[in-house]
């Protein structure tokens, strides 16, 4: 888009060469998959719309074989392609980059990750088959492989400290897939009255050799991985520390970037202190508020729908996806940047957000914000501040104190009767704190809300 800003080449010979090996690796992986598919997947009937007369039985594996051959050719093309790297044709096409860039913003990101989360649960039987899993893996790998051909994308994903996050995304994705696969299987078995996977083959075995050898192999493999990782990727070391030169953006360590992202919506005392504390207390409270005795020691979704959905919502869209947003998509001045966008320090974003008090006094009442006259005593000043913020304070109080009993009487009636007062109140408050982030996000985007309660005099903004 802004070509005058971009002095850096999308492709270099080294990148093309490296990608060649990635495609070859993909080719080898898919060869193994072709073999599996040939053994398992069976045939389909191919008539090419009557062109083949009677039609012919073709194994599904043939489709994978074609894909495999394409990967091989693409890989070889990368490894042997000489000449000007800028004119190398195999890269993320602009026609895909532009809509992705144009459609990317914090709203779209959150809507996308939340929709994905819902789809993941609703369609859990569909996407957890082996073939669907393999398709998703290939899609995810090809997306990153192709995107790496973009300079700006490569800059961010390739930062040494960001590489673990990319790896984490694949690993978390894999284990989420594995969980749903196992729980779908167990839920099916339960419905048919068959024993669960974990109940079959659950004899006692001797720890030596069955466990200690696994541990030994695991340690050897991990040591090898760590050393290889250390050789291939150097730990980051930037310029010597200087208190005078503030980098832009300044970012916390990557595992705290979800919290840093919350600073967009909350003040530091909420985003940096209260909400993290609530997260930790909430995690510790889980065993004491989950009264459901089912699902102890086996994978299931149907028997623990509420617990699992809530936890997954907290972990996937609100923690992992926020880290992705904070790490990869937040640039200078914590502005949002699309995946293929240049991190321009001069990018400006309008911040004309409004407080509830401003909206109430200026727009609804059509008058100035109440201010204590100069030189008035402390009590008057406090009174005027409370008067100014009365609506926000009432809203927050209603959220925290009126909603729990209201929910106990309606949506959570069963929970309330089974959990008792104390357990229920802990659960309700944890839910309210968790939902405060998405609620604040939506309010920011929908009505440009800044603070519900804005009392900067006391550092008390919500």
């Amino acid at each position: 888009m802004e070509s005058h800003l971009q002095h850096n080449p999308d492709l270099t010979s080294a990148v093309i060469y490296g990608l060649g090996w990635v495609y070859l690796l993909l080719f080898v992986l898919n060869c193994a998959w072709v073999r599996r598919s040939y053994a398992v997947d069976g045939n389909f009937r191919l008539s090419l719309g009557g062109l083949l007369g009677k039609g012919q039985e073709v194994p599904f594996a043939a489709l994978w074989a074609i894909y495999c051959a394409m990967l091989l050719m693409v890989g070889i093309a990368h490894l042997t392609g000489s000449g000007n790297p800028q004119t190398f044709p195999l890269k993320m096409p602009e026609i895909l980059k532009e809509p992705i860039n144009a459609g990317s913003n914090p709203v779209a990101f959150f809507v996308f990750s939340t929709s994905l989360f819902i789809a993941m649960i609703v369609f859990r039987k569909v996407w957890t088959t082996m073939t669907a899993g393999w398709l998703l893996l290939n899609f995810a790998l090809l997306f990153v492989t192709l995107s790496v051909t973009d300079y700006d994308f490569r800059q961010i994903v390739g930062k040494p400290d960001n590489v673990p996050i990319v790896a984490m995304l694949y690993i978390v994705g894999f284990f989420t897939w594995l969980y749903f696969r196992k729980s779908v299987e167990n839920d099916k078995r339960r419905a048919e009255g068959r024993p669960l996977v974990e109940q079959e083959n659950n004899e006692k075995v001797l720890t030596w050799p069955d466990l200690v050898y696994t541990e030994l192999i695991c340690m050897v493999v991990l040591t090898a991985i760590l050393i290889a990782w250390g050789i291939v990727l150097q730990a980051p070391l930037e310029e010597p520390a200087s208190a005078a030169k503030t980098p832009n953006p300044s970012k916390a360590p990557w595992y705290f970037l979800g919290l840093q992202e919350m600073l967009v919506y909350f003040d530091p005392w909420m985003a940096g202190v209260v909400l993290p504390s609530v997260i930790l207390v909430g995690l510790m409270a889980i065993p004491y508020i989950d009264f459901n005795k089912l699902g102890n020691g086996y994978y299931t979704f149907n028997e623990r729908k509420f617990a699992i959905s809530t936890f997954l919502f907290g972990f996937l869209p609100l923690w992992v996806a926020m880290i992705v947003l904070g790490t990869f998509l937040r640039g200078p001045n914590w502005n949002f940047f699309s995946p293929y966008e240049y991190w321009d320090v001069h990018k400006l974003e309008l911040l004309n957000n409004v407080n509830v008090s401003e909206w109430f006094w200026l727009s609804i009442m059509d008058r100035q914000l109440p201010v204590a006259p100069a030189g008035s005593d402390q009590l008057t000043q406090i009174g005027m501040i409370l008067l100014r913020e009365w609506l926000g304070l009432v809203l927050v109080a209603a959220y925290l104190f009126a909603l729990p009993p209201l929910m106990a009487a309606t949506v959570f009636r069963k929970f309330f009767s089974r959990m008792g007062f104390l357990r229920y109140m802990v659960l309700a408050n944890l839910m309210l704190f968790m939902m405060s982030l998405p609620i604040k996000m939506v309010l920011r985007w929908a009505v440009r809300l800044k603070y519900i309660v804005a009392i900067p005099e006391w550092f008390f903004n919500i």
Binding site: E198, Q234, P268, F460
Partner: protein
Amino acid sequence: MSVGDYIRGSQIWKSIFRHPAPVDRRNRIVVMLTNFFLHLHPVSIKQQGIALSYTWCMGGITFFLFLVETITGVLLMFYYRPTLQFAFNDILALRDVTTLGIMREVHRWGAHAMVITVWLHMYRVFLTGSYKPPREFNWVIGVLLLVLTLLLSFTGYLLPWDQLAIWAITVGSNMARATPFLGYEGPGAQLLNIGGFDLITSGSDARFLLLGGRFVSEATLNRFYILHCVAIPLVVSLLIAIHFWRVRKDGGISQPL
């Protein structure tokens, strides 16, 4: 008689291992009971408790990474000096000239990996409902270990003393300034004053306690170094011991008793 048999029959070998090699059923049981390192494990174990697709092995990997971090960390401590004069240059030398300077790479990547494996371990424990009775309290200890793992990583982040380090710590620790009541820019801090004299100032609040100063300085480096190398690892070791002990006492990693 083979060399192996000769060694295993010697007085020295027997004095160390106390029993014959674990080649038959009896000795496979005995070895688990009489070896210090192996006695963390039970003698026999349910198959599901060691099935990789069930356990994901993430708790074990986390513990292994903790050991890797301890060993590489001790080696790095022989070399690295936590002062403004030396800190950055020592890390630079580890990268460029020092033999086995790769220990720093292994240490850093191991640390990132450990954060991820702790999350995945908790993910698995949650998804299998393994925090349910009688294991509620072990989950609580696990959450404490999560916090300490993050703090270990956070305190270690400062030690290279480069731009990445001090600004990440600055951004992170700025939050402490806004702690309710205990941070000088936190709500309620103004209430803590005696006769107009503020108790919570930029020189006495939570952030000052964390940094040992009003901004990230040499005092911070020293403070984080001690936390990173001594204080937190000691607490973590204790909690790991309790965590493992509870796994045994609560009847394995998962499933009702």
